[in-house]
Amino acid sequence: MSSASFETIATAGTLPGYWSGVLRRLGRDPVAMFALLVILAMVLMAVFAPLIAPADPYRGQMLRRLRPIGTPGFPLGTDELGRDMLTRLIYGARLSLLMGVTPVFIAFFVGSAIGITAGYLGGKVNTVLMRTVDVFFAFPSVLLAIALSGALGAGIFNGLLSLTIVFIPPIARIAESVTTAVRKIEYVEAARASGASALTIVRVHVLGNVIGPIFVYATGLISVSLILASGLSFLGLGVKPPEPEWGLMLNTLRNAIYVQPWVAALPGAMIFITSISFNLLSDGLRSAMDLKS
């Protein structure tokens, strides 16, 4: 027990140094910082939507349907029900970000727990857990997401659930392989030999070493998740009308491409900007941590 507490102090001393180094390197990366700024702007837009948005996102007028970009009073035009596009794009950030980020967030915890357990315990537990994960990993991700939410039916909760199930297997796999590698390092062996319990070893020695790589991997999944989440709504699964959500807006505006093509394309541009920002930030984080992809 004494060795364990000594190690706690030792790692507590080194960890912040490592992370502050990562943050400092990330701070010097202009592309990653710009991406972070864009993401922060999106988050602020989502949080303060009622304060920023010029109009009501649900109220439209059939008389002013599908106005072009630059119409006085409607800077980004109006949609197929005469609702202000700018307002709906601002409000859309709420559900689109929620549907995109939450699944990866939950899958990060569940997947890490499964992977670290399997990797640390090894043996039969590993076989059972990882074979189950392999079954879900054997589906192409888009197919699995659509199959699950297609079977469960449309709706925000079902969409979130399907996407979470899709992202658990890849995260669990990474967690398992990183943990298996860390378990074989001598100081972990030494801790086990000196009688530290499994829980202590995982908490003190394993977690600090594996959580970084898993986290970076998970951040890389956010852009996929955003595209997939909006894709579900685009297909008519996921978010239901009249909620403002970028993928759903793209779906309901699909027939308008012959009338107001660029208004119809706007929601997709929002998804694109958000998703590329998450990818650039994740790439920056990866090189700041000096990890190979």
Binding site: V135, A138, F139, P140, G236, G268
Partner: protein, 317 residues
Amino acid sequence: MLVYVLKRLIYTLPVAFGVSVVCFLLVHIAPGDPLTSVLPPDASAQLQAEMRKIYGFDRPLIVQYGLWVLKTLQGDLGVSIATGRPVAGELRLALGNTLMLAVLATLIGFVLGCLFGFVAGYFRDSWLDKLASFVSIIGVSVPHYWLGMVLVIIFSVQLNWLPATGAGPGGSADWAWDWVHVRHLILPAVTMSVIPMGIVARTVRALVADILSQEFITGQRAKGLLDVGVFRHVVKNAAPTALAVMGLQLGYLLGGSILIETVFSWPGTGFLLGQAIFQRDLPLLQGTILVLAMFFVALNLLVDVVQTMLDPRVQRT
């Protein structure tokens, strides 16, 4: 080698079994009875019981699964509720269309991806690298269904060069390799190729940079090896991994074609899947997902085996 192939094959069997169980259970996790979508809401209890018996839903789940697998292995995927036609027949037609699209998209993506990735890795940290890397990150970040819409807006709505939807004038069953049909293929294939392009480019860039930084290349260069020779070394070392990535991408495109097929009304498996979901055509849903997933499992196996044959250093267990 043979031992490895056998081992890999034996490892695939439980995964395939698990995949079939998931596909089977999908229909049963749906809220309510699988029959509620088929029967009118005011159907009598007697009719409901009869229908349940006809579809076999009155038997224990495990018996249902066993019967389903037996029938599937004989090539019988049941009958579509919406059209009354055998699911296997509908799928064969759709699978052909999706394969055509996915293979073409993978090829375009692979060629462009290798080009961008190679240039980026060879001239690392130059402006060429930055440009090529930027293109590849766009490839992995763009919502492809939106890209499809934008391409339709530009090339169909505004320029009127290419058709926006469909697979040709004669419907889905009537394909020919002439301009009348091929022009329908261009936009969906280009849209779809963006994903493998981005991923292949990123992989190839990392591979090329890694190989060039190895000592044997420096050594060969010191001995007077020309750039052409270096190029040969790079290709030989990068090809197995790049090809493996390409193979897996083909699988992802086959399974994930639904979004692009919806944008372009392309009569493939994704389109079929969409129909199955929204008409709650459960046999069609189950069959389509099973076939696509099994395709992916088989492709994974094939990719692993081929990669090991090309590069015996990568033997996975």
